[in-house]
């Protein structure tokens, strides 16, 4: 896997880990107790919170239940908004450009929209 994609992946689990940690602390639950509730060792919980270990999906669900949280509350925000329209400020800036430039920029941005629609399907 390419490094940068891995970096995104790592970042995702770091965010999940820190969300689990703060939810656990807010709920007043120790790592030992949470571990017992979800059938993991305390060191697994430590590792998940520190993102040294990627939490398995099944355990993630159990953790969210044990902490009385919705799964979505323990996930990072969707990192990429799929809005592919260009703002009026940019349109205004484009208006002064040569016709080919306007076509090129609009065409490229439109392709971005097509791609994100394909991904959604």
């Amino acid at each position: 896997m390419p490094d940068v994609v891995d970096a995104e992946n790592d970042k995702f689990y770091r965010l999940v880990g820190s969300k689990v940690r703060s939810a656990r602390i807010a709920a007043g639950v120790s790592q030992t107790l949470l571990a017992a509730q979800v059938g993991l060792t305390r060191s697994s919980i430590t590792n998940i919170e520190a993102a040294r270990q990627r939490v398995p999906l099944y355990h993630f669900v159990l953790i969210s239940r044990a902490l009385n949280k919705e799964i979505s509350e323990l996930l990072p925000e969707n990192p990429k908004p799929d809005d592919s329209r260009v703002s009026p400020a940019i349109e205004e800036k484009l208006a002064d450009s040569p016709a080919t430039t306007i076509d090129f920029v609009r065409g490229a941005v439109a392709r971005l929209r097509d791609e994100s629609e394909v991904e959604k399907r």
């Binding site: 940068v4 703002s87 430039t101 490229a108």
Partner: protein
């Protein structure tokens, strides 16, 4: 005057080179070819490819928090890589500009007024940035040295072509880089 002073140009180049070095360091770029698309995406840029029959080679668009790099895919893949690096340079170095559109051939006739001076400097910076990022000095030196050691009768054209292939850049871009790094004479 439409021509920036030599001192201004040097300072602009240094700034662009420093930015490229920071990325090479941050992302531990060590083996060519540099994965330029991933680096651009890691900085939050989306890459929009568009086949377009016009003089435009690419653009850098900053729309609120969104960064979009447009690439005209009518040119060779190696040139497209350079365009992506060039546009990333605009996005990282020229924060005040919401939109920069680049042409494959600069319109020389439009470049003799005062406002074109700033544009000239920004183009120099984006090009310097792209060259320094796609062809990092130490790595190019390392590969060039190895090639020459392995075959000390290697021709100039052969050296350029081999390095261009290794770094996945155009022969043209590599030969400029080698001259600028003092590996080849102009």
């Amino acid at each position: 005057m439409g021509i920036a002073s030599g001192h201004e140009r040097d300072r602009a180049r240094d700034e662009a080179r420093d930015e490229a070095r920071r990325i090479i360091w941050d992302y531990k770029v060590a083996t060519p070819p540099v994965r330029i698309e991933e680096l651009a995406e890691a900085h939050g840029a989306q890459i929009a490819r568009h086949r377009f029959e016009g003089p435009e080679s690419g653009f850098a668009l900053r729309d609120g928090n969104r960064w979009i790099i447009g690439v005209n895919v009518q040119t060779s893949r190696r040139r497209q890589r350079f365009t992506i690096a060039h546009e990333l340079g605009h996005l990282l170095l020229h924060k005040g500009r919401p939109l920069t559109v680049d042409q494959a051939v600069l319109r020389v006739d439009m470049r003799n007024d005062v406002s074109s001076m700033a544009t000239d400097i920004q183009e120099i910076q984006a090009n310097t940035f792209a060259a320094a990022l796609l062809m990092p000095e130490e790595i190019v030196l390392d590969f060039a040295t190895t090639l020459v050691r392995r075959d000390n009768t290697i021709t100039r054209d052969d050296l350029i072509a081999k390095l261009a292939r290794t770094f996945d850049v155009s022969v043209e871009a590599m030969s400029y880089r080698l001259i600028n790094l003092g590996i080849l004479t102009a």
